[in-house]
Amino acid sequence: MSEPILDLHNLRKTFGALTATDDVSLTLHPGEIHALIGPNGAGKSTLIKLISGELRPDSGTIRFEGQAIDRLGPAARARLGLARSFQVSAVIPGFTVLENVMLAVQGASGASFRFLRPALRDRALTEPAQFHIAHVGMGTRAHMPAADLSHGERRRLEIAMALALRPRAFLLDEPMAGMGTEGARDLTAILSELRTEAPILLVEHDMDAVFALADRISVLVYGRIIATGTVAEIRASEAVRAAYLGDAA
């Protein structure tokens, strides 16, 4: 297999007596969707936070495109091209869709200390932003305040913001959460396309989406990865069935 974009090596994180991440090693390769599943409290969110830089591991290393990023903060990791979305929709509620995506374009450009030209008239921001908004099918919503969007639209906006970062890898934390069947189906189609932009590490509860999208699946239970494999392998695994799928499927 090709060199991994993202390479977690023996990550460990404890909160007091609780081991939230227990010796986790995991890779994300170009062009793939690697799904991370596991029951509530398995430590999925902690792992995402370790990768995005919001939390620091007690031990272990994270390499991103061959470079150790352990010392970098979340903003620096985002600038390297590690784009994350949040479990709870995280947009700027008072901004329009366009302004939200412009902010992401601006972040990726690394040039926030510009003071004179109105951002809304800065074509280096507005044009890429419009492009990404159209990409997720939100072209008609560009001037609507994010606070007025439906849940599904807000999820799409987040994807547009992630795209605007011109990412080298996506970290998507439950993008389907709270979506109706139809919305989930639409988003599945968008995500499936996204993998050509950059590989995706996908944390998701919606098993239909995971089985439809994932090239590989890792199963996290009590902070430990108990199995990694293709959809078929995971479906067939006794250990996974016992630990997780047994009560879900």
């Binding site: 995005s52 919001e54 903060g73 979340p74 903003a75 620096a76 985002a78 600038r79 784009a83 994350r84 949040f86 995280a90 947009v91 700027i92 509620p93 008072g94 901004f95 329009t96 302004e99 412009m102 902010l103 992401a104 601006q106 972040g107 990726a108 690394g110 040039a111 926030s112 200390f113 510009r114 003071f115 004179l116 030209r117 109105p118 951002a119 809304l120 800065d122 921001l125 305040p145 913001m161 605007a164 970062l165």
Partner: protein, 325 residues
């Protein structure tokens, strides 16, 4: 023109008009009140940059107001005595030239804001409020206990500083200077808050982690905003010192921080002309109600309470409606 733009224009016309009518009627005191309103509005515009657009509740902006004032008073008093302010590392003589004093007042308050901001912006919420308050109080007590510049009694400099081509002793001409600087500051804040920098600053107020996730460090954005804010407030302090020809530790006290905050909240947090509306209303109330009762601030308190509860957009929001920020 939107409703808010019309209201903004009307407010500025009201400020200028009051001074001009007072001039025509020979009411020097009213011109002084209008000048005071312009200076307070300028201070409010400075605070609004961090409080309104940045969502950072600084309870220490009196520090910058007072430093601007003291820079002015110290330079003026040294100019009168002929003794240099400092001889090391270079000779700094006193001055009575506003154009020489302003840059120093702005630099002093800007440097203080950089230092105070660098430390206090590592905290947030109520801790940020307390840390900014603590720094301002530190400077306040320093001013009280430093006898060279009047200590508790403050420092008088008797003669208003000069501006080339104008007679600053003429109230209307000094008002013109203050109103001109207020207009410049309003223009600056309008441009800043619409720029990329402003986009990041306003975004960080609403959702800090989202801003981090797109690769922008809110800390550096906020620190710059805090410094610019301190510089504008420092300039206001310099003008206030010239208005009274007197500076005292009261300019540095937490009452002053609170008062500047009142201008912003009364007028409308995060609205460009909010501080102008707030300062005008404050001065008008002080003048009208102050004649009725010494306890006029109790009424101001009630008004503030009503604004916070029923009209979070302040006077501007009340008249022009809410808008997306």
């Amino acid at each position: 023109m939107t409703r808010e733009a019309a209201l903004n224009a009307a407010l500025f016309v009201a400020l200028i008009g009051t001074a001009l009518v007072a001039q025509a009627l020979g009411e020097g005191f009213i011109i002084t009140l209008a000048t005071k309103a312009a200076i307070f509005a300028l201070a409010g515009v400075g605070l609004n940059l961090v409080l309104g657009y940045g969502g950072l509740v600084s309870f220490g902006h009196a520090a910058f107001f007072g430093l601007g004032g003291y820079a002015t008073g110290i330079l003026a008093s040294h100019a009168m005595s002929g003794v240099p302010v400092a001889t090391l590392p270079f000779t700094l003589n006193g001055s009575t030239e506003m154009l020489a004093i302003w840059p120093l007042a702005i630099a002093a308050s800007g440097l203080a804001a950089l230092a105070i901001g660098a430390l206090s912006l590592r905290t947030s919420g109520v801790y940020f409020i307390m840390v900014t308050l603590a720094f301002a109080q530190m400077i306040y007590y320093l001013a009280i206990s430093w006898p060279a510049y009047g200590g508790e009694d403050g420092l008088s400099f008797y003669v208003r500083n000069t501006f080339p081509g104008l007679n600053t002793f003429d109230p209307i001409q000094f008002f013109a200077i203050c109103a001109g600087l207020l207009a410049a500051a309003l223009g600056l804040v309008a441009v800043l808050t619409r720029s990329r920098f402003g986009l990041a600053l306003r975004a960080a107020r609403q959702n800090e982690s989202r801003v981090v996730a797109v690769g922008i460090r809110p800390y550096s954005i906020r620190l710059l905003a805090f410094m610019l804010s301190g510089m504008i407030v420092g300039l206001a302090g310099s003008l206030y010192a010239d208005l009274n020809r007197f500076v005292s530790p009261a300019m540095l006290s937490w009452h002053m921080s609170g008062e500047i905050m009142v201008f912003v909240i009364l007028g409308g947090v995060g609205r460009l002309f909010g501080p102008v509306a707030g300062a005008l209303a404050y001065i008008a109330l002080e003048h009208l109600l102050g004649g009725v009762s010494d306890y006029w601030q109790a009424l101001l308190g009630l008004l503030l309470l009503a604004i916070v509860i029923y009209a979070p957009g302040g006077l501007i929001g009340l008249i022009a409606g809410r808008r997306h920020v």
